[in-house]
């Protein structure tokens, strides 16, 4: 059976190239890139042979840990179309242990296997300095290959089996986002490191920690041996072996599970009650608000917007801290920035409804009620954030007197921004991701103007908040004079409220007048 499955795998591999020439060229480019990267890693690891064991370990262990993380996370985050899915063989009635081992062996054929085997071989070159280290390095190399390939198998199966449901898929998309986001600080860290002196210290501390985890243990064992710590080397080999064992058991368990239950049944029942609808008055505005909140909770497109609102300040902080802005000043930023992006999140809300908007037309929902309802979720998130987040930020800043300014600026960005969005989503909708599509999918047609509308609505919000921002800055510069901060609070909240009401009324009038055109717009895309 193993021979047959290996033959199948080879046939699948060969068929990769039986496509249209353009695709084959693309595959070849990818392949060359992949082999190039492998070549660089191989050359680098071979060169480390000339370097002191401590330094070589500080470089090799983080590299190996990142590679294993990639093998584990990439299939989870982006899903994988797996032609050797165990379920494909469910109908042949093969015994689970044999199928599991055969499929695992098939993992040895393919580009990932080639890459990891080459790299594992190269690290033997790095460490073949004395007999004991050579033996340890060879054992480590075997463990590296096994761990990476089994890890990829396990996480591919988890992605295609356990995460196959609709709701789970939505969550995985967010995993991918989280992965990308968590890489950002890493890059910022790398950028901020002074490579002349401090850089190696950072790498060494990463290596010290990772070396005792399953991620880097196999890579660290030969380094310990070469540094004259055979005891630690054996211990780390055992850690790596145990991890490989765990992966093997998970793989067998998964195969058994997948063969036994070919299709996963998802329980679709959300609840017998009315959910958010029970909490809101049965007016038009109340119903639209309940509907909006339900969508913010259930629709991954809104999750993505919320994630963006939280990620944006993180990126701001990283960039500014790299640029050398003191930490206590940075503490002032997150709340206003989140408020800005929170209010901006609904500037294309009508397009998110797609053609379901007809219900508002057919029931002659007043424009202002539609606008009010859409604003409510952002207000419900934003208001507590401003009230709780501002004092905390002020404490972190080191001066509680800035609290009124912070509340003023944040409220202004939130309220004025919601007013701006209320007008923009009625007047300037642009194609968005359709309901049910992945939040990271590209809309079918972006047309022109999406970028302009996005930036104009964002800058309009900032522009309308300038009075509060200016007053707050005065308060910061002239410390001790509390009047500026209070003025910022009053102007921010007052002007914000006026702009919100104005935006809702104006946007509502546009909505009432243009409702059929809005519906026609949603039908075009």
């Amino acid at each position: 059976m193993v021979a047959q499955l290996l033959g199948l795998k080879l046939r699948l591999l060969a068929n990769t190239f039986r496509r249209r020439p353009v695709q084959v060229i693309g595959i070849l480019i990818g392949l060359v890139y992949c082999l190039g990267a492998t070549g660089v890693a191989m050359a680098g690891l071979s060169a480390l042979r000339q370097v002191a064991p401590a330094l070589a370990g500080s470089i090799a262990v983080p590299l190996g840990s990142v590679i294993l993380l990639g093998f584990l996370l990439v299939p989870l985050a982006f899903g994988a179309d797996d032609p050797m899915d165990p379920r494909t063989f469910a109908l042949y009635g093969l015994p689970v242990p044999r199928l599991a081992s055969a499929l695992a062996l098939c993992g040895l054929v393919g580009v990932p296997a080639l890459v990891i085997t080459t790299v594992a071989g190269a690290q033997v070159v790095t460490w073949a300095r004395d007999p004991l280290s050579t033996v340890v390095a060879v054992l480590s190399g075997i463990l590296i290959v096994v761990t990476n390939l089994l890890g990829a198998r396990v996480s591919t199966s988890i992605a295609s089996f356990l995460l196959a449901g609709r709701r789970a898929r939505e969550v995985t998309g967010l995993f991918a986002l989280a992965a990308i986001v968590s890489l950002a600080p890493l890059f910022a860290l790398l950028a901020s490191v002074n490579w002349d002196g401090g850089g190696l210290r950072v790498l060494k501390s990463v290596a010290d920690v990772a070396g005792w985890t399953p991620l880097g243990a196999a890579w660290s064992a030969p380094a310990e041996s070469a540094s004259g710590n055979p005891g630690a080397a054996v211990l780390k080999l055992l850690i790596a072996l145990a991890f490989a064992g765990v992966l093997w058991l998970s793989w067998r368990g998964l195969v058994a599970l997948m063969l036994g239950r070919p299709a996963r049944l998802e329980s679709n029942t959300v609840g017998a009650g009315l959910g958010w609808f029970g909490w809101f008055p049965t007016t038009s505005a109340g119903s639209v608000a309940a509907r909006s909140i339900t969508y913010w909770v259930r629709d991954p497109r809104y999750h993505a917007a919320l994630a963006a609102a939280t990620v944006a300040p993180v990126l701001f902080l990283i960039v500014l801290s790299v640029a050398g802005v003191p930490i206590h000043v940075l503490a002032l930023l997150p709340v206003p920035v989140i408020c800005l992006f929170l209010s901006w999140a609904i500037h294309n809300d009508v397009a998110y409804d797609s053609s379901a908007l007809w219900l508002h037309l057919a029931s002659h929902t007043p424009g202002w009620a539609d606008r009010v309802g859409r604003v409510v979720p952002a207000l419900l998130i934003g208001a507590p954030l401003v009230l709780i987040g501002s004092p905390i930020s002020a404490v972190l800043y080191g001066d509680s007197e800035v609290t009124p300014s912070l509340i003023g600026v944040s409220s202004s960005l939130l309220l004025a921004g919601l007013g701006v969005s209320s007008v923009f989503s009625a007047r300037f909708p642009y194609p968005s991701v359709r309901p049910g599509d992945s939040p990271f999918a590209q809309p079918q047609s972006t047309g022109t103007g999406a970028g302009i509308i996005q930036s104009v609505s964002l800058f309009a919000t900032v522009g309308l908040s300038l009075p509060a921002i200016w007053l707050a800055l005065q308060g910061l510069v002239r410390a001790g004079d509390n009047g500026w901060a209070v003025a910022s609070l009053l102007v921010g909240v007052g002007l914000g409220l006026v702009l919100l009401v104005a935006g809702i009324l104006w946007g509502g009038r546009i909505f009432t007048r243009r409702a059929p055109e809005l519906l026609a717009f949603t039908l075009r895309y």
Binding site: R166, N268, T269, V270, G271, A272, G273, L274, G275, F277, T282, T283, S284, G286, S287, V288, A290, R291, T294, Y295, R298, D299, D353, S354, S355, A356, W358, L359, H360, L361, A362, S363, H364, T365, P435, G436, P516, E517, L519, A520, L523
Partner: protein
Amino acid sequence: MAQPTAAPVPADSPTRVAPSDQIALVVSDLVKRFGDTIAVDHVSLTVPAGTLYGIVGPNGAGKTTTLSMVSGLLRPDGGSVSVSGADVWSDPGLAKRNMGVLPDRLRLFDRLTGRQLLHYAGTLRGLDARTVKQRSSDLATAFGLEDSLGRVVSDYSAGMAKKIAIACALIHSPRLLVLDEPFESVDPVSASNITAILQKYVAAGGTVVLSSHSMELIQRVCDLVAIVVNGRVLASGTMAEVRGTGSLEERFLELAGVDKTGEGMEWLHSFSD
């Protein structure tokens, strides 16, 4: 073209046709252009209260475009629509209050559960929570959706989604129902179920305008019928007037001029083996 239906009713036709002073819907000279093509070309219809009015026509005849303009979802280029005397485009508040709508191929707010969608449709129409709750459970029973109200609508089958959408159109007990393809992708049992609900509604004085591809069904359930081809009404009136001695389908094929099917496809008959 569109004939007034006050004329003496032939003996063999259903006699539920109301007198002409109770007109539920008047469509006059409705026009819609999409670029160079005229999708709806001066369509006029008069629908008396208490009737089931069927609109039939081939694909692309302009049925959906007409019904969209009637229900206030698509702005016409010309003509007028009035529901119980209120113009849909100049007095939409009153006209839309009296109208329940099922559009074809438009999305629903399908991240809501069935119960939430019904509640949403009801409260947008100004009903209070208790009324909505009671009517939702009645509608769910009538459409066989009791066990599905707690599920998210995007997980419904096409037929179930159609049924919950019809229930949403009914929930505010409108005087006029405008249903575009209400039987599409609905199973036969549910279809006869829906038909029975509609017939009871009409017997109580309600009015239904519906479009369908199924001639047999329209002929069976509708009192009045209009045949629309290429955006024009080719025949309209009571079922008996329109179909004459044959079936509705024969009359339709005759008017639509589609008896040339299969011409130029002789190669299909010389099997290539």
